[in-house]
Amino acid sequence: MSLLPWTIYLSFGGALLSWFGGRRSPLLARWIALASMAGTIAIGACAACQFSPSSGPVSLVNARWLPFADYALSVDGLSLTFVLLTGLAGIAAVLFSWETKKRPGDFFALFLALVGGVYGVFLSADALLLFVFYEIAIVPKYFLVAVWGSTNREYGAMKLVLYSFAGSALVMAGLLWAARETGTSFGMVELVSAARHLPSGIQVPLFALVFTGFAVLAGMFPFHTWAPTGHVAAPTGASMLLAGVVMKLGAYGCLRVALPAFPEGFAMFQPAIAVLAIVGILYAGLVALVQSDFKFVIGYSSVSHMGFVLLGLAAATTQAVSGAVLQMFSHGVVAGLLFAVVGRMVYERTHTRDLRQLRRMALARRMPFVAVVFVLAALASMGMPGFSGFPAELAILAGTWQRSQVWALLAVLGIPVAAAFTLRAVQQAFFGKSAGVGGDGKGAVDSLGGLAGEHPFAPITLPEKLGAVLLLGVSIVIGIRPDLLLDWIAPALESPLLKIAIQGVAQ
């Protein structure tokens, strides 16, 4: 447990090693990355075994750092959930980036720096420290996308990083203003418990600043446009992290800081957030339905799924919020897997992501493993029972129902939409016409002439298999036993700090 801060140090240490050592030997860089990520997972797993959810937040480090902020790390059920998610998404991303040929030392260094920042955010018990780690995570994203990305990478990278930085500027303004009004340090407990007693005239603008700032990164509806372009432009490993973990930073910030600190501001904006969340779910889902680029489908589906998270937060009942946290975990795993299939397994072999071209390639027959993985991941993503998406979305919708039946009914529409765009992608990418027409499929491919059909695709490598099995396994385990995580999440939400935020508005 006391080792948890080392997840941060290990990641940054690995980043430095890889930055300076990875130049010489690509192999070294990979293994450094894998070893660091494995180390952090081991630490996370040990902590998970020792963790008792009832004991409340456990302080890990608490040292004076600045006159107005501490270097304070602590862990509770929420943090631990996300620490585990970061480890899983991170190691899977390393496995799927195993073959990175271009400047692997730099790639894994930036990758690990990003992971380190993410761990830091999830463990911070000081608002300034959280903000510092949050910003540390921004810059590596730029380089990961701009150097190693594909379609429109420089545009996507700049858009991504400017949106994030603009969002964090709002958060910074909000935090500074809040600290000024309360006169406290930035310690989370102090700041939050003082800020919630501020007059509502101040809480409203403060909440608007901090929540909007964080929600930009969570991909909330009008500010979501960075997400599809950024995710599509990013290299596979980075888009797995971006969709899997980085978007969660925003939602985590909303849940940790914005909601509990400014309950009256939240009460004021609650319907607006819910509406935006629902619009996000439906709008992004419909946009995903008409994309011709396979990766854009997944990119918009991320926005749609994050809409459920925001809806859960907006509903602010214990059930809805636990559902939202579970959805973040589930989406982190599943979206990572979807991006891995599209960006790495399919694109690296077919060199196209255009659904119209993929349709003619009969991928289900030629890459059965990939097809199976993708179909399972798609089912998980649609929220099929047995996968992690199901209990998450169920909890969100049930929790939202308690708050407002209209919201819940509107949001339910998102589920058939999600099923539609996911199944469309499955059908077009893997079960295209040519595979079906010829009975055995072979003739059809031949009749298309010089299509890449003749020479077989490179086989699926071991790291790819490992990564896919790992993520699928986690999704299924959580789908069958959601209580494993819910037992951590629910008590954390009951803690005095968060409880008022979640139930204070319920009356």
């Binding site: 600045l66 510092v132 810059v139 380089f143 150097v147 420089e154 400017l162 910074m172 203003w177």
Partner: protein, 472 residues
């Protein structure tokens, strides 16, 4: 001054005296001792003497600093540190002739800056300002092989001379009104704040300072001077000169400018801040030349520094420390960027941002350090630039009411920091994203950093990181 005995007066100015002595030794030795020797030897000798003098001054400031005051000691310390780095950089990269004169002028400039930063009296302030200014006019135009250097020197001289004239006129009017040269006595003279003449004098002084600090709309010399000056000079103008200027302005402001009964000065400040923030950040977006980009970024930073100057005039706040921290870490980062530019310049020119393309492949050291410096300038944690900005904003919000003008200025500055990231990323994009340009031929080859320059750059980068992790 009368309260000190003669000895303490001597000790208090020992650091400055040592610097002047060092400069004279450098000049004398170059004319006699090492005359006729090789250029390399003369350079090394001059730099070694200068470094020894600076380090001695460092020690003197450390041991006898308390005779002046703790706060003055801080800014002297910072100036000497920047001086040492600049000298190392000069030793590593300068290709100019007459190094001894160059080095001596740097020492004179440093002396002037130290006087300036610790002045509590208009006469001493002006003396320091002119000593530093005259040395810098020569240093900016020092590269006789380049036309731009002469142009920059002339521009810097004309603008600087004008600023000095404003300042001197303002000071003399203040003297006439208050019958005193000391800041605190001037500040205590009610007549200044009651008469229009007093306000005219104060505005003139502020205009003089704004010229020197390159705050918009008095910034026009900065891009040209940064572009044309020899790199080490540009580095010093951008870092040490800025530090001393703002420390002097801060002291003068706390005594004179910000009195409750004089709102007009506050509004002049507000205008300067808005103009600098907007013009600096927006004009920087369009730059293709690295040095001009740094100049506009300096203008933008001047906007934030003016906010800090306003805040530190409030007695209870810690903002004075943070002002020094801001301007020092800003100086370190800028000096570092110029250091990297200097090294790249010796390997095939570095004016455009595009000249930095592919630096990641050409030099690991330079590209890594440049990453640190530029991100610190952009205000990305955990580097010093972030904490400087954050602390200044926090202190400022602490002393002003929500809805007051400086409250909105802080919000504007925060918004502008998001804009600023764009142009800083343009530099980093060239350094890291693109592959080396083929047509540059040998220019895209590996860069070997000369040892003294490497030491300077690494020290500056380490300082930016360490000061960021442990800000106070």
């Amino acid at each position: 001054m009368n309260t000190h005995s003669d000895y303490s007066f001597f000790f208090a100015f020992l650091p400055e005296a040592l610097l002047v002595f060092g400069a004279l030794v450098v000049l004398a030795a170059d004319l006699s001792l090492v005359r006729g020797r090789s250029h390399a030897l003369r350079t090394d000798f001059a730099v070694a003497v200068a470094l020894a003098a600076t380090v001695a001054a460092f020690a003197a400031a450390f041991f006898f600093g308390e005779f002046v005051s703790l706060e003055l000691f801080g800014s002297r310390f910072a100036l000497l540190a920047l001086g040492v780095l600049a000298l190392l950089l000069l030793a590593g990269t300068s290709r100019l002739k007459n190094t001894a004169e160059h080095v001596a002028l740097v020492l004179f400039a440093l002396t002037g800056l130290m006087l300036m930063s610790s002045a509590t009296n208009t006469l001493v302030a002006f003396l320091g300002l002119e000593l530093a200014g005259l040395s810098f006019y020569i240093l900016v135009g020092f590269d006789k092989t380049r036309r731009e250097s002469a142009e920059a020197g002339l521009k810097y001289f004309l603008y600087g001379g004008m600023a000095s004239a404003f300042l001197l006129f303002g000071f003399s009017l203040l003297y006439g009104l208050s019958n005193s040269l000391d800041f605190n006595k001037i500040g205590a003279t009610q007549a200044i704040f009651d008469t229009p003449l007093g306000v005219v004098a104060l505005v003139m002084v502020l205009v003089g300072f704004a010229y020197k600090a390159a705050a918009a709309p008095f910034h026009h010399w900065a891009p040209d001077a940064y572009q044309g000056a020899p790199v080490t000079t540009a580095a010093l103008v951008a870092s040490a000169s800025k530090l001393a200027g703002f420390m002097l302005l801060a002291r003068f402001s706390s005594e004179v400018f910000f009195r409750e009964d004089l709102p007009v000065m506050r509004w002049v400040f507000v205008c300067l801040v808005i103009a600098s923030l907007l013009l600096g950040n927006i004009a920087a977006l369009a730059q293709t030349n690295v040095r001009r980009l740094l100049a506009y970024s300096a203008i933008a930073h001047a906007g934030v520094l003016f906010i800090a100057v306003y805040t530190q005039a409030h007695p209870k706040s810690m903002a004075h420390y943070w002002l020094l921290y801001y301007v020092f870490t800003y100086g370190l980062a800028t000096l570092g960027v110029f250091g990297c530019i200097a090294v790249v310049e010796n390997n095939g020119g570095c004016q455009k941002i595009l000249d930095l393309v592919g630096l990641w492949k050409r030099s690991r050291l330079l590209s890594s350090c440049l990453l640190v410096f530029v991100l610190s300038l952009a205000g990305v944690p955990p580097l010093a630039g972030f904490f400087a900005k954050f602390a200044v904003f926090r202190e400022t919000l602490g002393v002003c009411k929500p809805g007051s003008e400086f409250f909105w200025l802080v919000l504007l500055a925060i918004a502008m920091s998001a804009v600023a990231l764009y142009y800083y990323l343009q530099i980093l994009k060239a350094v890291f994203v693109a592959d080396p340009v083929k047509e540059h031929g040998d220019a895209s080859g590996l860069i070997k950093t000369p040892l003294p320059a490497a030491v300077a750059i690494v020290l500056a980068a380490a300082a930016v990181i360490v000061l960021g992790l442990v800000p106070c």
